[in-house]
Point group: D2
Chain length 390, copies 4
């Protein structure tokens, strides 16, 4: 009777060091903090060792807020910290290659945000280094970890849709429309980001590979910069946008399916409109990130035949992917849950030496997406159908 | 008091001869019969003079059912009938060129189903002949006559959306999926139909031209035949499908907008899924033929700002295109109404010598769609971005 | 070869006389003209003998426009015209009883718009007279003739949903909102219309009876007049609204199901929003008049279990009710098609002496709806749960 | 340079003791853990002192998992623990009154799950005690803390919708349908739960009060138990269900609006289908818990007039309630976020002595909902319209 002390769960711990602390840094940090009681028991309890950024005040604030033990302002120093076993790279695209390679060479596991790199060459370097150093490596294509998306893949990979004919995907946003007066950001700069909408929305390439279990074999693409000048943030004038505002592509997959991929930052009213549809011999699937708990499913030979149509499936049943960790049916999840599932998966792979793919995306998957993106750039420039040379 | 004889409306009359009597023949015939009391007063009352087809029993049945005065089994004979002032060509694609040209050479106005012809050359021939003979000519791109589509065009053409960045359109059906056991039809035969899904769904090319008021300038396309053999209708074996089951294309418009166009007969669960979305500087529009009374509209700077989103507009208000002829708000129209509006427009142009375009599609528009379709075929074969040579 | 005269279909003919010529008059007239070629062969060809109304100019125009042989300005005279075998009563509610009774006493079949009468007594009188005189009688609850609604009934009546627990229905419109400045109309006057929203939306009572095959046994209701004064049409001041603007009701059915019924003319943005949902032991159904071609269907034990959800069924397949007369899958019907199906059904019952119910609503069904409506008025006034005394 | 220790935020702390550890216990615990870094800076950092439950093993597991310092198996002992400043009562309904009253009498703030109590008398006792002891008290009507719901209230309360005519709400679930073989639970037992669906879905009463800022003044209701026997959990036979499976009600508000409220556990396919619609003089609002990030908004006089319709507003903009703590537009929140906002609000009220209402629900609001629920029970039994005696 009376007060009883709680026992501490006897679980492995893993030290985490993060590079970057913006939007993605907050999302990843939340996942580290939340998975150890919601995805219970976790394979390991994350120790938030340090976060790193150049702006000392900002990074100190981040560390205080999210409970990191401390912070660095130099990533090379952070990577020498022996407490760090997992390096989480949420920096801008030009900070993906070097720090990630340095980490894997130090035997540290790496989670790196997408796009994995600015170019195929950078991505290949990262992948090769990770393989050579035998660490776990993950590209943060977090939409693989939406329950409805995972369910879609499972339905396809178990043959429920039969032969796949079509994959179409869009990622539409609107934040650079003229009336928003969006200034020139690093995302508009080729040196930093590699590409624009194309890299940012490389999710839709990875989702295609993930769902179909087959890579894109060739592309015909057009990239376009509609608004080539933007105001500088400091008000001192304008600067040049040297990446794409939008892209559109016809693709063919190695399994013969054809499709379209499109991304833009200029679709008024579309906020985070990442949608796909797959049409197979035995049915169709459709999904929309803005309603991420739902999967529309149509069975070509569903019974009774007289009531065939697209079913709106709320993917919140106890048997659905990851849902047993959450709530009863109909109690919907949010966007940030993808990171919790993703990082849980990575920890599980690290602790039990499991394969990250295909449940999660590896650096190989990140590389594959870069190959496709580079082929799209080439196709846009030459006008030709370009084969993806993996 | 007592019974009063009704006066006959004193209106011009126009004699109609129709080639073909299948699905489209029924839809056009309904329009001729219905427009004279619903679109009241009509510019002219259609006299259904004759329908023509090779199967005597079938064509006789059609004539009796729809109230044609009689029928022909030879179209050349029908075109010599002096009572015929408007030739309505709803025959298969290989019957478009010759009869239509013959009609215009006889000074008869022509309405021809889409695609206007199997090839650009045929379409050009038809267009040139029509112009030379100074008759009214219309390609039956009937979706120009959906109130919501016309409204979309008006919003764009009056500048409400500002500069247009994106146009994307799909036309998805599923009727050739394996489990339907669809036999080899004329629609699978290149000699008869020219192309497959591409020609059948050329609606989406015309809708792009119509909405944007700008033609497609170049394409990158892939056509694909997924199921190359089909059972013959007589059960004697299988035959070769030599047209496309599906196509996908990236396009650029003369005004700089880019987009995607896709059509397929293999999208399970999609019955008549013709959809488009347009994204402009000041807003977006989206539409779906299966819910044809609705137009989704988003205004980039709509007030109040805190409740911006896509508006689901039920295009059934008295001020909406053609609605004054119909019912109070919310009493929805169906697919067949498009033909009533279309043929009304054509009669109006004939009687009052008005321009068919841009409200309706002329043979020039039909030709333009053929130019794009041919460029898509070429791009698919060569892999190259192909300019549209109008 | 050459021109062949079409044979006239050798079909019975039936003479039609219509009282009223407004909105509903146009819709019914269209049906008479269209059914003989679209619902082919029809059981009889309608002869549009006469239309009747007090305004001579208007009724003469109606007759000319829709092809009536002539017109009357006195309904009693019209009912003496021996050519009239079917009396179609689309007059205001206070013109339902007397003319309809006179017609049935003359051995003329009657189709009468809803609500069948202003009161239960009037409706009973009409029903009794029709039965006594052994004519066909139909209350124009036309939504029984929406393919998706008929399909819903068939699914329920064949036991596919098992025991029914819930029925809920709404009919929401917005045309009397202040900003529309709607003047005082006959629909706001109790003497003419009996009730307001309640009678106008008695559709939702009849649909409940139709779908469940069970009558409402008791009601708890509130009627409300939110805007009690309206401007007179002639601008001479304001007049009193003495009917309900809105009603809400809890109901119980004879089979034990419970539900809610609600109607209003003050739901901003709702134009013709007639919706229902039925929840049964084995599944659920939902429907919306503004998307009348669709039926949402959920099967409690549908397979595969992992993809259960509401299916959006496009009720345009060849096996769906009435669709064989129309178009291929996905080519949607409109609101006015309900009348074509309805009048076809009535003609079929007249010519072949079939039962109008349950496919169509008889005067008995119209009476039943009046009993429920009167119980709602009584419940609203007394505050008590009121049993329906049929 | 090098590693820098993070500073601990210098914030007040508040000791939390929780009674109960099931579904709601997990949701509340997550909120305590997450708010201190996501809703940053929090008004106080929650110290999870203890959780209490009768099953020692289970409660010990809960404490270990969610990081409580320890646990109790006797709630009276827990309430004597001086470290506890906030008592969170997530126990079954029959455990609401006594422990909550004991807590407030000890000067401890209380958050209590809904329904606040089994009866109006219990609720009144709790409210009176809380007021008398001058502590903060909150009834956990968490849907007040959905950003879209809060936005809806703000739109109504600032007069944007003008006079309100209608409020309708439903809460539909399906978990007691026969094919699920749900056994007899405490939720089916009147002694423990008070009522069934009615109490469970009392959310829809509170939402009505919250949105309209006006209380329900009278009700006409029917409660129904469709399935009166259920298997016992131990398989030893069946037991009686003595609460309602479903309820339906017509309501009138003090401000004159009328509406319907309905709840059921027998709506096949509806998982957590809590929806409402409000119709006012100047517009309408609609919302669905299963798509909780969205609010449908219609403006009666929205401009341009030609594109009026329901707008689908994604309530994830930086200016939307609570969103500044989360992610960029379009990155949706989940169900559990409601608790984070709710408990943040309560902590803010405790630390800065602010009013819990109307942003959050107090025990007064919980009492009000009980008054309405009791009136519904009385109306169901007597058949009469029952006034709510607050």
């Amino acid at each position: 009777m009376g007060f009883n002390e709680a026992e501490k769960p006897d679980l492995p711990r893993i030290g985490v060091g993060m590079l970057g602390y913006a939007f993605m840094g907050r999302a990843h940090s939340d996942a580290y903090r939340k998975l150890d009681y919601m995805m219970y028991p976790p394979p390991a309890i994350p120790d938030l060792v340090a976060v790193c950024g150049r702006n000392k005040e900002a990074v100190a604030g981040m560390a205080a807020r999210f409970g990191y033990k401390g912070y660095y302002t130099d990533w090379e120093e952070m990577l020498e910290d022996p407490r760090i076993q997992l390096f989480d790279n949420v920096g801008p695209n030009n900070m993906h290659e070097d720090p990630s390679v340095r980490a894997v060479e130090a035997g540290v596991h790496v989670l790196c945000e997408k796009p994995l790199a600015r170019t195929t060459e950078e991505a290949r370097h990262m992948w090769d280094a990770a393989v050579k150093n035998n660490v776990k490596h993950m590209a943060a294509f977090n939409y693989r970890f939406v329950p409805a998306v995972r369910k879609a893949r499972d339905l396809i990979q178990t043959g429920k849709l039969g032969r796949i004919y079509h994959f179409r995907a869009m990622y539409l946003q609107d934040w650079i429309l003229p009336h928003f007066h969006t200034p020139l950001l690093w995302r508009h700069n080729k040196d930093v980001s590699g590409t624009g909408a194309l890299g940012d929305f490389s999710h839709i390439i990875d989702i295609g590979h993930f769902l179909l279990g087959s890579r894109i074999s060739s592309v015909q693409s057009t990239l376009k910069t509609f608004i080539p000048e933007r105001a500088l943030m400091d008000g001192s004038g304008t600067g040049k946008v040297d990446v794409d505002d939008a892209f559109a592509s016809v693709v063919e997959f190695e399994n013969g399916a054809i499709g379209t991929l499109e991304g833009t930052r200029l679709a008024s009213g579309r906020k985070n409109y990442h949608v796909f549809e797959v049409n197979g011999e035995k049915g169709s699937l459709a999904w929309n990130l803005e309603r991420l708990n739902e999967l529309d499913v149509q069975w070509a030979e569903g019974e009774p035949a007289e009531t065939r149509g697209f079913q709106n499936v709320l993917v919140t049943e106890s048997g659905d992917p990851w849902i047993e960790n959450w709530w009863p049916p109909g109690h919907v999840l949010g966007w940030e849950h993808t990171f919790i599932h993703e990082i849980y998966h990575l920890l599980d792979c690290i602790i039990y030496d499991k394969e990250v793919a295909p449940g999660g995306a590896t650096f190989e998957d990140g590389y594959n997406a870069c190959v496709v993106a580079d082929a799209m750039v080439e196709s846009s420039e030459t006008g030709r159908r370009v084969d993806c040379k993996y």
